[in-house]
Symmetry: C2
Subunit: 339 residues, 2 copies
DNA sequence: CTGAAAGCGCTAACAT
DNA sequence: ATGTTAGCGCTTTCAG
């Protein structure tokens, strides 16, 4: 392994000068810098990240806690975050919190956590309180929902607003009996994204004069399979409905599949809408109406918050909130053919 | 920050004993261990990863180079790898190589690379030679295709075999004129997964006595959009075809969408198959026939190889190859209705 | 503008 | 079974 010492010797300067060159600090003569750069090239030197981290007391790594990379929404998000973090000189380690969130977060807390400079938590069904677990231990930003713990930075997705857009759109397209999968409207349930979307959906619908039968709101795993099973469950109740809101596009695709298997046509017999506007939603048959969150804006805001907090620019009682916007993306799954 | 020193003082032992306890080394009396563990708990101590890395000369991090997390196949793969690596005590940093592979790999090479203990390269269209770039710099395993550089460990996906299964299946279902998107059959083109799949497809078809018009093999970006555009291109040639093989399921979904927009029914008018068996393939309408690679087996093999090489268990002329298997997963998109 | 020295927190090697 | 010492490669501080 070639060290800074070696480079310094090779270039005939001190290690400090090499360090200055590498870190682009001023007060280095051009000629000297060139000699150092040549030496670095000749020897194939690269800085030792561990030594730098140890000395500086920071690792240049941020953790990203998500439940599941293998879901289009989180994949999209992870990709944006990795790219955006790189701009600020940070690497990203993805922490898979999975189904057994509590246990995994606990494990994380006692081990790897300390080697991150900051943590970004994005979990569709994370209760706001979870974020508090980390408070004080390291800079944290919660991404995707309002946290009920006030003393944490967060970036809020327009869950209720977006769901409201869907409710109004479904009604406008002629739906009269609404159902939803992936969220329930119950104050007793902790407020994850599903709950917030359910609340926004129900409230907007009722504001339009359409009552939503609470039995027609069902929770489920956020997977294709979950969507398929839930729609079977709804059909099994015997309660008729003609407009279905799914808390995510993945659920919507599973639901459309389930309806198809029962011979129910979308949008002919049933309007279906999702949330997230994942890439595949545009290409399925029928394509899926969805709510497009401002992913890029959210990621930008979250990283700016995290970086400023890591830099210690804000004190322990200056917590920020960024409220994002959403846009309705109408596609085939809710375009009722004129009848 | 609380250090090992602090713990040692608090427990009334030396730092070495604390280190021994943390690393589960033998020769520590139970009573002593308990005292140390209590102290760790009391003080909320966690080891400093940077210091440990510096001392040990290894980081406990492996890099995973993939072109794009936000694609179902890579998402699936990344998730498996992260989980499997954790079992061996490694963290995974995802390196997005993106479209501009050469440049990114170059950048990677000169900076972050050194802080990884090993590198896993998985790129559908990586030429085997790229892997050689890293040879000697750090342990590397190429995942997903045969590398033409012999002196590198690799895990080979059953590209040609899987594509052959599709060819035989399409013919058996009655297809007589075949086309393919996402790969060309041309010895001059570097052998990425697309090329290997194309070769396997063409050879199996011709072995069955079905010639494949070379103009009906088109390359394209591995995206939904790419699939849609390519199928439009194929239809534009005016050459009739009734069986379409897509190099990935993402392409197949885009292609089915493109066919749908032209009023061509799948599987009624055209049989379509993909590759990768991504989760969504089972839920689209129609569901997509695909080749299911043994993801878990490949990931296991790749990590075992990488870990053993990091441990220095194999010399510079002992390179391994793991050949994976594939399974045909027949779904609606190729079930020709009896006519 | 450049150099010398100290030390970040940990563990390998060697005492005891 | 436990303690002592040295040093990993870098950057911060202070001197020139």
């Amino acid at each position: 392994m070639v060290t800074m010492q070696d480079v310094a010797r090779h270039a005939g300067v001190s290690v400090m000068t090499v360090s200055n060159v590498i870190n682009a600090r001023p007060h280095v003569r051009d000629a000297t810098r060139d000699r150092v750069l040549t030496a670095i090239d000749d020897l194939g030197y690269a800085v030792n990240a561990a030594a730098r981290s140890l000395r500086q007391g920071r690792s240049g790594v941020i953790g990203l806690a998500i439940p599941d990379i293998d879901r289009p929404y989180f994949g999209q998000l992870a990709e944006l975050i990795v790219a955006r973090a790189a701009q600020d000189g940070y690497e990203v380690v993805i922490e898979h919190t999975g189904a057994d969130r509590e246990r995994e977060i606990g494990a994380l807390r006692h081990s790897r956590l300390r080697s991150y400079d900051g943590l970004l938590i994005s979990a569709v069904n994370l209760s706001g309180a979870d974020a508090a677990l980390f408070r004080g231990e390291l800079p944290v930003v919660v991404l995707g929902e309002r946290s009920y713990e006030e003393r944490v930075d967060h970036v809020v997705m327009a869950n209720a607003d977006g769901a409201g857009m869907i409710a109004r759109h479904l009604i406008e397209q002629g739906a009269r009996s609404l159902a939803m999968i992936g969220g329930v409207h119950d104050p007793a349930v902790p407020a994850g994204a599903g709950t917030l979307r359910a609340a926004g959906f129900v409230e907007a619908a009722e504001a339009e004069g359409v009552q939503v039968d609470r039995r027609m709101l069902v929770d489920c795993a956020y997977s294709f399979e979950g969507g398929l099973r839930s729609v079977e469950h709804l059909l099994g109740t015997g309660v008729p409905f003609d407009g279905l809101f799914c808390a995510t596009d993945v659920l919507a695709i599973g639901a459309i599949r389930g309806l198809h298997e029962r011979g129910i046509s979308v949008p002919g017999d049933m309007l279906v809408a999702g949330f997230d506007d994942v890439p595949v939603a545009r290409f399925t048959v029928p394509s899926v109406t969805s709510v497009a969150p401002d992913h890029a804006g959210m990621v930008d805001a979250a990283l700016a918050m995290l970086v400023s907090r890591i830099a210690g620019e804000r004190g322990a009682d200056d917590y920020r909130e960024h409220v994002s916007t959403a846009r309705l993306q109408v596609r085939e799954s809710t375009r009722r053919p004129r009848s």
